[in-house]
């Protein structure tokens, strides 16, 4: 190491120190943009909006049993493990579907099909995130870990690898996988699988079709081109719209019943009824006067409704 007491006195030494510092700063300057670039590439792989919405359901499931929350370590563990497990399964889903994504206009600019990331790197990332997420969940509680693993398994193995390219009914399994985070949160809160947990799971399960089927209609030709069977291609648009409307109403019914059983305050229940009536109005509208604007509106409203319901369950 340099003797800094001589800094400034010995010109050669000073020059050497300054050169070393400059070199280290240059290295840091190169390292930071690299990291930023990686984060920019990795973020689309985890579908941040969808992941955070599912994470919000997990937190709501936990808080529905333990509100108000004071046990910060458990809450952090739940957030971290769920975020990593959901992100891991989403990355693996992207990895497996890279050939489909490359054929669809909506997805072909994603980092993997566009060639910005290699399939090996994506696979490794998905695996690492999954292992850390599932491992962390096992440290919190065995039953909680089992539910988180079930969600991961249904999403990656049953939905993505096994059924997505074979049947349009794969969305049921996608829905079950999507319902696992809220059940996991509830399980971590109460220590068992109860009726409220199942109702909360059903609410997410019925919400998922509004998401998947709306996209299946909006990007119909993309899915046709990629050879992925969807509800609109198997049963037509009217049946798909009716399915979306029915599943939205069922989702509202499930979350309403769960809220009553949880004992949500009367004021919040009133608010939930009002929001549900808006959902019902849009669902009826999409059946009576079907058009893309109303269908997409129903999808957006259903997402907003789900988020609002989760916030209400969390702060009740």
């Amino acid at each position: 190491m340099y003797n800094l007491e001589n800094f400034g006195k010995n010109p050669r030494l000073t020059e050497s120190i300054l050169a070393t510092l400059e070199d280290q700063m240059n290295r840091s300057a190169r390292w930071l943009p690299k990291l930023k670039h990686k984060v920019r590439l990795y973020l689309p792989l985890i579908k941040s909006l969808q992941t955070f919405l599912l994470l919000a359901t997990g937190l709501a499931g936990y808080m529905s049993a333990r509100c108000p929350i004071f046990h910060l370590p458990t809450l952090l563990g739940l957030s971290g493990s769920l975020f990593l497990a959901i992100s891991g399964s989403t990355v693996l889903n992207m990895w497996w579907d890279r050939d489909i994504d490359a054929k669809m206009g909506r997805t072909q600019k994603r980092p993997l099909p566009s060639g910005e990331l290699s399939s090996q790197e994506t696979f490794r990332l998905g695996l690492v995130l999954s292992v850390i997420g599932l491992g962390w969940s096992a440290l919190l509680s065995p039953l909680y870990a089992l539910v988180v693993f079930a969600g991961w398994f249904f999403d990656v193995v049953v939905y993505t690898i096994w059924l997505k390219r074979r049947t349009c009914w794969s969305i049921v399994w996608g829905g079950i996988a999507g319902g696992m985070p809220i059940l996991a949160g509830r399980v971590l809160g109460v220590g068992s699988i109860d009726l409220i947990g199942i109702l909360l799971t059903l609410s997410v399960l019925f919400w998922i079709p509004t998401h998947i089927l709306t996209f299946a209609m909006r990007f119909y030709s993309d899915y046709q081109h990629a050879g992925v069977p969807t509800f609109p291609s198997c049963y037509g648009f009217p049946v798909t719209r009716a399915t979306i409307a029915a599943s939205s109403v069922l989702a509202a019914f499930a979350i309403g019943t769960a809220s009553i059983l949880i004992g949500v305050q009367w004021g919040f229940l009133r608010l939930l009824v009002v929001l549900s009536s808006g959902l019902l109005l849009l669902a009826i509208g999409s059946l009576i006067r079907p058009n893309e604007r109303v269908n997409f509106g129903l999808f957006k409203y259903a997402s907003l409704y789900m988020l609002a319901s989760m916030i209400l369950l969390s702060i009740q």
């Binding site: 004021g267 919040f268 608010l271 009002v274 929001l275 604007r293 509106g297 409203y301 907003l304």
Partner: protein, 201 residues
Amino acid sequence: MKVSALDRWLFLATAVIASYQIAIGIEGLGEVPILAYTIGFGALLVAGLLILILGFEVLQSPIVVVVATIIPLSLACGMVWEYLAPWRVWYVSAATLGFIAVGVTRFARLSRRVAILILALVHGMAGLTIFLLPLSMVATQRAGLGFGLVSLGGALIGGMGLLLSFLRMGAPILNQEKLLKAFPLLFLVITVTYVLGFNWR
């Protein structure tokens, strides 16, 4: 006309404020006022969210005339039930009949003149109630000064409801572009005056 980013924030703020009122702002009242205010603020909330999501095109829907009537009518019914006990049954009956009449004339496609007349009558009744009742309660010291804000909101929503309804019925008083430009801010101001008025009475 497209909904701008600022408009979206204004509609979202309206929805959040209306949600607050529904969830915690009307506790401790009787069942009928709570129901009436829930419907009124609920219509404000859902309308705000639907315009936020679907855009101003949703205002072209025939249901807008009905929704624009629900808001002042339900709020007026709630206030009459609270403050004018002898008039409760009469007022709520008249409001219900008026609401049905607006719906029938709108969807049954009867004479436009009759539809406009009924709409003006129902809006006028509800608007005058929301405007005058809080003022008289403040004047007679049966409510705090803040309740006067409801009158201001009443005047604004009465005017806006009429402008929207006449626009929808093809007899515009103010042209569509000007009305839509002012709409998001006006909608928020109306909701804020109601919420403050009901909480500061």
